[in-house]
Chain length 274, copies 6
């Protein structure tokens, strides 16, 4: 169950409203790297967590934090939209180039939301909840969370570099710090679950002698000229899960040309196929 | 540039066609954990790779492999759909319960594709390319790939457990082995890039003294009763990136209630808001 | 800012797990009438609320409640999925009709989520955040909320009628009661804002003498035979906003056939169009 | 069945073509508040209407009107796109700032549609038919229609305020008037069905003594500090449906921490969860 | 402008309601081969038609017809849903296998639409208006329409083969006949525009001497072993547009390995890439 | 199975990077007329091809070619993004108008992809795999491919006309030539399958005496005033499939007003409908 106190987790202030930066910030709300995504991802992972409850608690606690981040960013978007022109005339008065501000905004922030934030990305594409990764496998979930926080921090850094508004830089410096922690905390959860050797290959509950082990640690080459693919840590030495030895192998097809044969009559095919 | 030889990478054989299993296999083609996703993700990551070219080659080489996996699975779907009823009557003849097979299929596999595979998931939802994570940050990309292969192998294991067709089990045992390798190879790429300490927090090009470091390694608590959140490896000790020390802290809001003030006249608000 | 106590708002208990009912319940999570929708809608409306702050507080307070409803329903889905078959064989053992349970489930609940809830509807379609209506106009928002709670309660009633599990009926009776309140509370907010006469037509900030008033209260007929359209409260008498008198009028086109003329050279048209 | 006369319902004229305004107008075609939405919503509601046929007729008649509105707006978009630059050079010749017009347009209007309208919103996002609310409950449908016309008129007002083209203002003044009528006509339909007391809570066919009535008219508080939530018409007095008395109550969880227990073996979980 | 007479274009009758067939029919409403698609596609093509107006009229006239087809199919879906069980108990009473009918239905037809049609496909996926192809090029549009009617008639034939209800077979025989005509009428429009030689390659307004003509009629081979690709009418002889001679050529890359070089500092890349 | 050589099919060079043109090129990658679409469409058609295998080979061979086109265009996007401003300040330094370049870009190309290509269209909308038409009917598929190449070449021509960069014009001239060939090759496949008379109406496996032949070649008029619709090649003369004679007929409804009667109790309708 959730509670609110209507306050912002961290102060949000905008010295010079910038409607284009409002558009950029939308990516941090409704983009695939954004806060709606992480809030809902941790929430759904928590709801489906089986096994030791402390992982459920870690996830739900962090979901609560991320809800507060959405609130901060939505406030930042609204504040940046203050001063956006509402008409071609108003725009022309403030700026010699007709359309440069309106044209650079997400028009839906004005037309659909009346100068407020929306759960859309920086190009106005609504967030799609298929991006909520909650697999029922705790290690896969934690790995997905490290990914989400890595792209999330990368986005926050790009936004930080884009603006020179001191209020926005301050808010983003806080969010970047939190992403640092969240990357670390989900790696720590993986560590607590046994680290690379204890968890990988995910899922670790499948007996590896049932997979086709000849190919389990082979770096296969698909170069047209039959040459070896580019070498690296992945092509020789002990595998990262400690359970195999990397090899390299130029691959040849093991199967034949597939042939589905004739189409069934009455299946809507052409008569030439039947 | 790409080439084909029209052959299957690994043999695909179905002893007892099962239209419901065809539907389940669709998840491995067009699901978010599926092969279209990884093929296109590695492809786009390769196309945008900057820096040492061997990572580009690793990605493009693996993309070529994954294209072949789609081909295998699409063949498996078509073979499992052989024998699907084309009509209510045909179904009733083979099975006393009208609708049990047709009702359990993805009807689009019949109605739209004429008993062939489609780039949709097991509930008939088309794959959406927003799931292609290609961030321009090589470590974030590799982390995303470990995630993709972890959920991918989890899915393949669930499919393996669901069927008892020897041909399908053989094919899935091969795909599970390849996912084992791919989890390992992308972890190896991260290792080659410097491992956790060399890469995290991602992006490592942002000077950490510009983030609000007071919060960089603090596990913050958002429990309604003000208690500490559940403890674990993430709440004390050295951080996973080796750059900080985990602490725990019950959080209180640092900001005030946000107040956006009045709406602008002519912004389409109610007069009560202006 | 948000807080959690990890507890369920209301008890969730399932006496006889039913994977098909789990699928039906998904509509109440990720359907357009579902709880993710209302939680996020009230949240975004609150974040963009301008004018008297008590509406912001009403919205954010109710958003907190709805987050707890998602949690309840996600738990109910997971509990109903206990006992779902993991394989064709397991299914065949418990039930003479191969595929009747697996075929009736959302397969993604098993394949993607490992027997847990997802933010998708009862056909496995992910929730799309374009359904978050937050218009920046407080009366339009409140009207949208009455709509959301009306379709929400209709859905909850259909689910209540579908099941005979006492635990599920108890949980749904609670949710139905809350939808009763929420319909009423958002109508009350409209009342406090001035009711039909004070708010409509929305937005009330546009001077009505600037609209083409000849058509503002006319029920126009588009019947092919030129007859009057079906009469009702909408075709005569005082309008609901108290600002006009309903009339009925058979409509004839006031414009001509549109003619866009020739296509521009170099616009990619056929030469026959240029 | 439908008929056409190829004429515009109301004259559409553009004095000064403005490609950015074409983009804004797209919201009124393919946005969630747009005309495709209302045309298709009333159409599908009509097709599913059960009970007194006059509501079906009202809906289908209005659907016919709305189809004509799409036609008007599509013509307006095409006329505003006349004069859009087809190349960087053409643009540079007319305007000192390279890219300001092309950059502000929906490029798909040029690249995909050859300077014509598309069923997309002002950011180029295609309309998604999940926004067609047709619930099978006539009162819920009418409420949804009041909502659609409220956000529709809000959008039309914003567009009116954005342009100073006399032709466009004239067209929009007509559309705003029609939205005034449509808000009123659907409220009138609700009135004819019995008004707030006759219809609410929706659906009114569910016996209220089967809901958990203790919570049916209680305004529940979810404030972190346990204080009462903000008061208003919704917190005391007779409820809007006339069937209860509003109360206020600070809420405490009635359920416990959910515990899903162990994961099933073979469900693809980690062995630590099993 | 559009008019309605509320009548069905062709009689719709269902002798034995079948909820699973209702689900199948949904594909013909909201599938990519369905009637919403063609109605809206011809409508938008008409709205954007430049050049000879008779093509606009052909398109708008056919759009009106297709709207009537949606109406027929929506009625057919609702009639097939009569008799669907509303509860697990009701189902169990009529059918020994719990869940076989409910599990085979689109649950949204019941839960969201109250036993009515929706603009979704046979798996419950909503129609997405990006499928409206209206290119601004009249020949491309007509070709797209032949395609739409080809997949549309294929779908209608599959539905005809699936059912043995005489009323449904009669309705589908009518729709199949109309698709026959529509395939022919759009081919006739292409013929009137000059046929293959007059129209192809589309767009015919681009001077072919500006394309890289060495490759304009060459069938290029991408076989891994460097062999020629499979021969056919496409590999030698005069081209179908009459403007070239087909040749076959094994292809070798003309470009080098792409190299994007280093990432820009401050672009959010890893320091290893900069 | 697929192979790569990491080389570009054709040289890609950009003399003057232009971030707005990068955005336009995105349409050729992730737009519905783009290369992801054709690559995946031919790939899935090949995987489901039944009947003569040479069509499968034609399709898979061309899929391999199109994968190389994505690679070229993704490289072109990245090269055009070189020099995009990373901040408001950087932009302001190079250009007097703040926001004109950043505002005209797809911001996701910067924020999500770090100056690289994405599988999205020119407005940042991700490609949706429902656009992969693979019908199981070989003639319908080939017709769909002619359509795809027609809109594809139209798009390439528009892009060619938009830029004056010699490198980009050279690349596009190559792609336009390939689209010329692909239009021709798929028409040739139709010819080899028997041409219009041998294939149409599609599917040709349905006995035409089972369709309602009275309407199979009639151009039906839906003009409101009962006049004949606009005449053309489609209204008289032999039909294009050679199997009928075109006629024209003003249409009157053959069905009655539909009446679904009362709603079922417990179906969630209002009591007024029951």
């Amino acid at each position: 169950m959730f509670y609110t106190d209507n306050k912002l987790q961290y102060p949000v202030r905008v010295e010079t409203p910038n409607p284009l930066f409002a558009r950029a910030l939308q990516q941090a709300i409704g983009g695939i790297e954004g806060e709606v995504r992480v809030a809902m991802q941790y929430f759904f992972q928590a709801c489906g967590a089986r096994g030791n409850n402390k992982f459920r608690d870690l996830l739900m606690n962090t979901a609560a934090e991320e809800l507060g981040h959405i609130e901060m960013l939505a406030t930042a978007v609204a504040l940046n939209l203050e001063g956006a022109p509402l008409s071609m005339q108003e725009e022309a008065a403030g700026d010699p180039i007709n359309g440069a501000v309106l044209g650079g905004m997400n028009l839906k922030n004005l037309l659909s939301a009346g100068l407020s934030a929306m759960p859309v990305d920086s190009d106005g594409v609504p967030f799609d909840m298929s991006h909520i990764y909650a697999s029922g496998n705790i290690a896969a979930d934690m790995t997905a969370n490290v990914t989400a926080e890595s792209t999330g921090r990368t986005l926050a850094v790009r936004l930080y570099n884009m603006t020179n508004d001191p209020g926005m830089k301050d808010m983003l410096a806080y969010l970047i710090a939190r992403d640092t922690m969240h990357q670390n905390q989900f790696m720590a959860a993986l560590e607590e679950l046994g680290g690379a050797e204890g968890n990988f290959p995910i899922p670790n509950s499948f007996p590896q002698d049932m997979e086709t082990q000849e190919f389990s640690y082979a770096y296969l080459g698909f170069q047209a000229d039959g040459s070896e693919p580019a070498q690296g840590r992945w092509s020789k030495g002990t595998s990262m899960d400690g359970k195999g030895e990397f090899t390299t192998r130029v691959f040849k097809p093991l199967g034949d040309e597939p042939n589905l044969g004739k189409a069934k009559p009455k299946s809507g095919a052409q008569s030439q196929q039947i």
